[in-house]
């Protein structure tokens, strides 16, 4: 336990210099599996405006945000909006059940080891990043109103 903790701490020190991705940065590549095991690369969504939504089935606030996201998705999907739902669930079954319960129709990938959350320096959830058509970060944790405004602008 102690060895593990020390080793882990050393890793954490190595990551400590990793900066939080911010507005203006080019999004780092993400390549994670969907429920069927097939991976979706974030870069394959270039040309669309993408919301990366870090969430988990056990995260109450994340689940509460879903209905509003569904409304936006329904309104803007045909104009080129996509959501890359990135779950931090450790249990695949919990993840799948939550997607079914919430009936969220967008892309869902699983980061069961938390590697992507670590690289993206996500320290709490929900945590969202909005990317423009070129894959550049245009907003971090936008409110519903901000998100809608940006979608209008970016998907003219």
């Amino acid at each position: 336990m102690k060895f593990f903790l020390s080793a882990w701490l050393l890793c954490m020190c190595a990551f400590a210099s990793v900066a939080q991705p911010t507005v203006g940065d080019q999004a780092k590549e993400i390549n994670l599996p969907q429920g069927n095991g097939k991976q979706i690369a974030l870069s394959s969504l270039r040309g669309k405006v993408v919301l990366i939504d870090f969430w988990a089935s056990w995260c109450g606030p994340c689940r509460k945000a879903m209905p509003a996201l569904k409304t936006l998705y329904a309104d803007y999907k045909h104009k080129g909006f996509e959501i890359y739902g990135l779950s931090l669930d450790a249990d695949k079954a919990d993840w799948q059940k939550a997607i079914k319960t919430d009936a969220t129709p967008w892309l869902h990938v699983l980061d069961a080891a938390g590697t992507t959350a670590d690289i993206w320096n996500v320290n709490y959830i929900p945590y969202t990043f909005l990317l423009d058509k070129t894959g550049k970060i245009v907003a971090v944790n936008p409110s519903h109103a901000q998100l809608e405004k940006l979608l209008k602008e970016l998907l003219k």
Partner: protein, 181 residues
Amino acid sequence: MKRLLMFVALILGINATHAQIQTATLKASGLTCSMCSKAVYDALTQVDFVKSVKANIQKSEYTIQLDDTKKIELAQLAEAVEDAGFSVAEMFITTKLSNLTVKNDAHIEMNGALLHFVNVPTKTVDGMVTLRLLDKVFAGDKTHKKYAQYTTMECYNTGYEATCCNTKSNGTKARMYHVTL
């Protein structure tokens, strides 16, 4: 579902008497979604001697880098978590010790924080060590009580220096932190 938050404080020390505290890990508990909590994250980052906080959402852990040029009052980390509506379930500090002999009831000072060793073998430690905090605010009642049998010193329960170990000539009682290997 009960989620736990763990906070790690990595405390790096140069020598035995003036060891420097650099990082901490802690696990907090709460009935709701503690790892979702921006409040916990924000509260920890706002503590004066905290340089940076990194959450591991899967492991329910926070790793906290501490500014070793400042006086470190570990209790403030627990207070920050409590102010955000949660409590600390587990906390570890990591430090580098140089040829320091630890034994039961040994006291060492780090960044002005007095550490009291509980239930440890007598041995000389050279290098990185991870210490678990046993005080109630960092470990909860159950763990705190479990380790109470290993020391008879009054400070274990009060959290403050008692007459048995008071090192200050003016008689002020310093905050004590109880740790085990």
